[in-house]
Each structure stands twice: as C-alpha cells, then as structure tokens.
C-alpha cells in the first residue's frame, strides 16, 4: 500500500515539474481594454474622471463608504485590473498590500501614483519613515497629485493632450476656489472652538490646511484599539475647552466616540455628535458628497454647523 502510494505521488510530481518548468510561450497582452483606467479610491476616481471625461472609461475599485483597510477585491475588480491600461492609486501605503502589486505591475501597465506629484516636505510624517496617506484633505496638495496624474495621462494618451490639459485647468480653478471658500468658512468659527475630534486620524492634512486643531481617539491605522489614556485625555480637553461637538466618520466605527461622550457627561459637559464626516471614500449620489468638491463642502458644512452658533451661507460654486 505504501509503495503504491509513493510511486503514484512521484509520477504525479514528475508530470507537474514538466508542465511548470517547461514554461509556455507568452505573448504579453499588455492590456485587454486600451481605454480603461482603474482607480483605487472613489476620491481618485473623481479626479481622474474630471480629467478624461467620457473619452476613457474610469472604474473605481473601492466603492462609496468603504474603508480601504477593509477592502477585499471582487473577481470583477481584479479582472478590471488585469484588463486596464492605466492604474491610478494614492500611494503612501493607503492601499496596503496592493501597493506591492502595483509596483510589480509596472512592466505590463502604466501605473500612476498621486503621491509622486507631491513635495515630501508638505507631507505629514507619522514616524521617521512613513507618511500620513490622507493627502486629499488639503485641496492644494491634492491638486499636485492631480497635476501629476494629468501629466502622466498626457504621456500615455498624447493625442488627447489639449483635452486633458484644459480639463486640468478648469479643475485647478475649481480646487483653488474651493480652498478659498472653505478657508473663509472655517475661519468664521471662533479660534478657541476650532477643534476637530474624530474617531480615527484622517484629518491632519485638513487641520494643517485650514488652521484647525485635530485630535483623534485612534491612530492612523483603524485596527489598533484606542488607548484608555487617549480617551481620558480627550475628555479632559473637551471639558476644558468647552468643545461643543465631536464627529463620526463615514467608514470607521463610532463605538469609541460614544465612550468619549459618556466620559464628558460624567464631568458635566454635554457634547453632541456633530455629524458624520467623509474620510476615506466619497458618499453616494443622494448625499451630495459624490464628488471631491461636494465631499469637502459637505464636511465643512457639517463642521461649521456643529461648532458655530450660526451657519453663514456662502456662495455656492455651481
């Protein structure tokens, strides 16, 4: 019995070796669909869609409201990745393990990383060798990423140079105006009340760009549990500064936020939940936060409404 077992296994192994180590002739079929651009997050997808409009098809992998850490690729997503001519991603390790994959796909596809267009000095360090990946919360920094991808797209599709360039120009105008508007809006909140407290550390760029103090219960990674000291420090700070509201994020759980609210209540300070902020993904069509500009406006509106007595109406762009 054992002898028979051994011989069968060896025959099977030998066949296997033959198949694998002979290799098969491979004609690199670089891309199945020469007009397909695949983007990782909805925020990147929105920028790329604005750049190429209907001339190319843009597919986003991580849909509305999905935390990039929790993303699991569906077979159709992966097939799209395999067929795509261009893959656009955020970089700075936002995409986790998939970043490795994109780096290795460079021979077969055109890969664009938004973070490549950004000046390292303007990025926020989380420790000596990694950067905070939530770069889109600073509209001007994000614009550098958009510029980089516009330049790369022009290299890939030279015959659409004029088209992409003019789209970029109008996008640049929009983003700059958005930046102005939001700055005005946030600066109308009294300085002492300009504190943004959320569940996870996604808003540091936002705080830096708009002069807002940002505090979070959880670190950049959504996996680690919030420390007890963190929670009690936050509670003390809220009581001391008389902060009116703290915020929930669209893609991260709100359990720890509730702990902070309870903590404040025992110390006599009533804090309300100011609303839900969009962090790692855009919202759906109904929410009005389905574009980058819409999302940023919505966040600032939520902030201003909760932190300020009166909400000043600002000039809408569209």
């Amino acid at each position: 019995m054992i002898k028979k077992f051994i011989s069968l296994k060896f025959i099977f192994l030998a066949i296997f070796f033959l198949i694998v180590f002979n290799g098969c002739v491979w004609q690199p079929q670089k891309y199945g669909d020469p007009k397909l651009i695949v983007c990782t997050t909805t925020i990147i997808g929105d920028a790329v869609k604005e750049l190429v409009k209907e001339r190319y098809s843009v597919k986003t992998l991580m849909g509305a409201g999905i935390d990039p850490h929790m993303y699991e690729a569906k077979p159709s997503d992966i097939r799209a990745l395999g067929n795509a001519r261009v893959v656009v991603y955020n970089g700075l390790h936002l995409e986790g393990k998939m970043t490795d994959l994109f780096e290795r796909m460079k021979d077969e596809k055109q890969i664009i990383a938004f973070s490549n267009g950004m000046d390292n000095n303007r990025l926020i360090k989380v420790n000596s060798h990694t950067f905070d990946p939530h770069v889109w919360f600073d509209p001007l920094l994000w614009l550098d990423g958009v510029k980089e991808s516009a330049n790369q797209l022009i290299k890939i599709f030279p015959k659409d140079k004029e088209f992409i360039l003019s789209n970029y120009k109008s996008l640049e105008n929009d983003y700059k105006r958005l930046n102005q508007d939001l700055k005005y809006q946030i600066h109308s909140i009294p300085k002492s009340q300009r504190v943004l407290i959320t569940s996870h550390d996604a808003f540091h760029y936002f705080g830096k760009a708009f002069d807002l103090e940002v505090l979070a219960i959880q670190g950049v990674s959504t996996v680690s549990e919030p420390g007890l000291k963190n929670v009690s420090n936050l509670v003390n700070l809220i009581v001391k500064r008389k902060v009116k509201a703290i915020f929930i994020e669209s893609s991260v759980s709100s359990k720890s936020i509730k702990a902070v609210i309870e903590g404040c209540k025992t110390k006599g300070q009533i804090v309300k939940i100011g609303g839900t902020l969009y962090s790692d993904a855009l919202g759906d069509k109904k929410s009005g936060a389905n574009t980058y500009i819409g999302m940023m406006r919505k966040n600032v509106k939520t902030l201003a409404l909760a932190l300020k007595v009166k909400y000043k109406k600002y000039v809408e762009l569209n």
Partner: protein, 290 residues
C-alpha cells in the same frame, strides 16, 4: 476559461493540497488550530521586520513572519509537553499573547501611528495573484505566488512520503514510538516547522481565511468518511480539490471574494458529509430493528 483562471486555480490547488495533507496530521493530533494561531502570532515578527528594514517590503515581512511562525509552534510545544498544559490552552495562550505583544510593539516603537497589521502588509489575496506573472525570455513560468508555493508543496509531499512512518506513528501512538526508540522530537519539530512555513508562505499569497479553512475542513471531512490514514490523505486532497474548483467558479458567478467562497464551499461539503453519515447510521439501525 482563460490563462488567468488557470493560473489562479493552480495556485489555489497547490495551497489546497499542501494544507489538506498537513491538516490530516494536525486533525489527528488535535492541534489544527495551530494554523489560526500562526495567522495572529506573526504580528510581532512583522513589526520587528518593519522596525529593522523601515519599509513595507514583503520579503522582510515574510522572513519576520516565518520566524515567529516557527517560534509559535515551539512555545506551544513547550507549554504542552514540558508544562503539561492542554494543547488547546497552550495554543490559546501563545497566540493571544504574541498578538497582543505585537499591538504593544506598534504602540511603543512606531509612535502608535504606523499602518501596520497582517492584513495590510502580509496577507495576500488569491484573486490578484494572476496579475503578478513571472515572464522570462518571453516564456510564461507562472505567477510569483505559484513559484513561491510550488517548492513548499513539493517539500510537503516529500516530507509526507519519506517521513510517512514517523508521522503515522507520531499521530497515533506517541508513547509506543518513544518506547521503540524513534526520535519523536525530530519528527515533531520538523513537522511543526513545515506547518509554520507552509502557512506563512500561503498567507502571503492567498490570505488567512483560506489557509486556516483548508487546513481543517477537508481533513475533518475525510476523517468522517474513512478510518485509515492513507485513504484519509487522498480523500482530503480530493475534497479540497472539489471545493477549490466549485468555490472558484461560484465566486466568479456571484462576483465575491474567491478565498471566502472556497471556504464556504468546503464547509457545505462538510455539512453534506455529516448528513450522509447520520443517514447511514439511522438506516443501519432501522435494518437492525427490523
């Protein structure tokens, strides 16, 4: 079915066979949750690899994880054999402790801020493996995961074939083996080292749930059906093959994660087998009563 499906399936099958072969011995020794334990206890290894290499390169991560995988099995064994603690308690203590240690290390040495955990730096995804083709001189040699898993698979098969007697006697009569002067420790440690290397390498290619699932479900299924070791090994491979194939095509059809679908399929097969064995027993009783 295109070349991409074929490449994905070959990767899935190589892992399925390695896991279901090793899983048989683990099931017999009541130590099958070692796989799950390793999936958690590699965290300190990843953190240390990150601190040493200061980037997220998966080669360093793999080395750190493999080291801690082996370390895990050594500690489990120390608790179980030397301190006479139950196997399940030893496994539980070891992996929760190591995982928690990893969380503390992240908090202390990376300013609590690095985006670091198994899911985003080590665990792969079966579906994306075909994107990473190895092409040399215009010839396709497979995917990176396939070529990483293949040596492991060959090692597993060789180990099971060459060391069959040792493994068999270790799984059923450990005391008897000792009394016959067989080097129990050698077989035990080389088997456990192989288990940890196989699981860590497979995690890197296809993620945790598939590996842990395939390590326990197909062997448990075939354990219900046959009573001897060699048929159990073959049947376990067969079950994992069927669940990989069915699961793969079902995942394409429903457009859901391939790994999860394969595990769901093998679970469904397990349930069908339970129903079959129960019915068989009930039927036999009826005949006896008549």
């Amino acid at each position: 079915m295109g070349i991409n499906d074929l490449l994905t399936l070959i990767t899935a099958l190589l892992i399925a066979w390695s896991c279901s072969l090793l899983g048989c011995f683990l099931v017999l020794r009541k130590a099958v949750m070692v796989g799950d334990a390793i999936s958690h206890s590699v965290l300190p290894g990843i953190v240390i690899a990150y601190l040493v290499s200061s980037n997220f390169n998966s080669v360093f991560m793999l080395i750190g994880a493999a080291f801690f995988g082996v370390f895990t099995t050594v500690i489990i064994d120390f608790f179980h054999k030397k301190l006479k603690l139950q196997e399940d308690a030893s496994i539980g203590i070891t992996f929760t402790w190591l995982f928690a240690l990893g969380v503390i290390l992240i908090a202390l040495f990376t300013d609590g801020n690095a985006d670091l955990d198994q899911d985003c730096v080590l665990f792969g995804e079966l579906g994306t493996t075909f994107l990473d083709k190895v092409i040399y001189n215009g010839r396709l040699f497979g995917t990176r995961s396939m070529l990483m898993i293949l040596p492991v698979f060959i090692l597993v098969v060789l180990f099971v074939v060459v060391g069959f007697k040792g493994l068999q006697i270790l799984s059923f009569h450990e005391e008897f083996a000792k009394s016959k002067g067989i080097n129990v420790n050698f077989w035990h440690y080389s088997f456990m080292a192989l288990v940890s290397i196989t699981t860590v390498m497979s995690f890197e290619s296809v993620g945790a749930v598939l590996v842990v699932g395939l390590l326990v479900i197909p062997p448990a299924t075939s354990y219900l059906l046959v009573e001897r070791l060699i048929p159990m090994l073959w049947l376990s491979c067969l079950v994992s093959t069927i669940s990989s194939l069915l699961g793969y095509f079902a995942s394409i059809y429903f457009d859901v994660s391939i790994s999860s679908m394969i595990v769901v399929t093998s679970g469904a097969i397990f349930i069908l087998v339970i129903i079959y064995t129960k019915l068989k027993i009930a039927f036999r009783k009826k005949i006896v009563n008549l």
